[in-house]
């Protein structure tokens, strides 16, 4: 334990003086060298530290179960994943659900729908709310991942994870947000309540889409590191920090509609700092991140 806290202290120190990630990157590399990757350790790592961008996609793929723990199987399993992608891709062509000019994210959506047995009877059917969530996440992921097949699998498995493992916790998040906002800034909470804005905050954007379309990708991926490795509570703290950061602006607005509209389109220049502060706040309230969900 003493070792642990010392190490934590050290990495916080590195972070402050700008050597951030040197030690972390090395320890991640050691983890990734194992013949059989230790999922739990990888989870703990990405709960504690930001993933170095060169390893992010690999770690996400492992944590989401797209590739199995054994290095030896990676090539074979990715071959299966690729075939599966092209099988469905071709089928959707045959039944004319997609063509050569269908945007990539729409292709992903149709593949995912077919895989989950939810392909609508006709292309003309309107999209369901869950489809909109999928598309938002896919659009953000597309900016982070170059390879379309890898991208599809990441989106699909991430969305599946949100709908299975995190489903119940996600529903609790608005309530938890209110609790923490009450602790952090009671006055702001009172203002939001006075405007009847608390029930109208962009919860779908924040908690269902996990900030896809709200934060730029460079900040977003640091939030997703935490979600993919098991904590959806981080989403609450990002929301709290957004509210705190734009407090003055929000206090100046006096209707729920104006507040929501502002929050759905926050300025994009300060988002890295918001995420850093959110991670700190999450640590303060939830202790050792490895044990919080």
């Amino acid at each position: 334990m003493a070792d642990d806290s010392q190490r934590n202290f050290r990495s916080v120190y590195y972070e402050k003086v700008g050597f951030r990630g040197v030690e972390e990157k090395k320890s991640l590399e050691i983890l990734l060298k194992d013949d059989r990757l230790d999922i739990e350790k990888l989870c703990t790592f990405s709960q504690r530290f930001p993933l170095p961008s060169m390893y992010r996609i690999l770690v996400w793929k492992v944590l989401l179960g797209i590739i199995p723990p054994h290095h030896e199987s990676h090539a074979l399993v990715m071959k299966y994943r690729k075939e599966q992608y092209w099988d469905i891709h071709h089928a959707l062509h045959v039944i004319r659900f997609i063509n050569d000019s269908t945007p990539q994210v729409d292709v992903f959506l149709r593949i995912h729908q077919l895989e989950s047995g939810k392909l609508p009877r006709s292309l003309a059917f309107p999209l369901e709310p869950e489809d909109e969530v999928f598309l938002a996440i896919a659009k953000a992921m597309e900016e982070m991942v170059e390879d379309p097949i890898e991208c599809y699998w990441l989106v699909s498995c991430f969305v599946n994870q949100l709908n299975s493992k995190h489903k119940d916790s996600l529903q609790q998040l608005p309530k938890i947000l209110e609790q923490y906002l009450n602790i952090e800034d009671n006055r702001l909470l009172m203002h939001l309540k006075a405007c009847a804005a608390m029930s109208k905050l962009p919860y779908d954007l924040w908690f269902k889409k996990c900030f896809a379309g709200c934060l730029p990708e460079s900040s977003l991926q640091r939030v997703w590191d935490k979600v993919i490795s098991g904590s959806c509570k981080i989403l609450v703290f990002v929301a709290v920090e957004i509210l705190l950061t734009f407090k003055m602006k929000i206090i100046a607005l006096n209707t729920a509609e104006k507040i929501t509209q502002f929050l759905e389109n926050i300025p994009q220049d300060n988002t890295d700092a918001i995420v850093s502060k959110a991670v700190d706040l999450w640590r303060t309230h939830c202790g050792t991140p490895a044990h919080s969900v």
Binding site: I67, P68, E72, S73, Y80, D87, I88, V94, L114
Partner: protein
């Protein structure tokens, strides 16, 4: 070590099974499409027949 081999096998098996399930979903989707197309074809030939009858009656 034995456990290791089992875990590795499971990892591969899951991926092949998922590919198989996807193929099954495709078959189902194709089945629906075929039924739908038959339906449309029948409707269109019925329509055609009705129109032919009308034309004949008018003549």
């Amino acid at each position: 070590y034995l456990e290791d081999v089992k875990i590795q096998a499971r990892g591969q098996l899951q991926a092949v099974e998922s590919r198989y399930k996807a193929q099954k979903r495709i078959t189902q989707a194709f089945e629906l499409e075929i039924l739908d197309l038959f339906g449309r074809l029948e409707k269109s030939s019925l329509l055609k027949k009705l129109e032919d009858d009308k034309t004949e009656a008018a003549e």
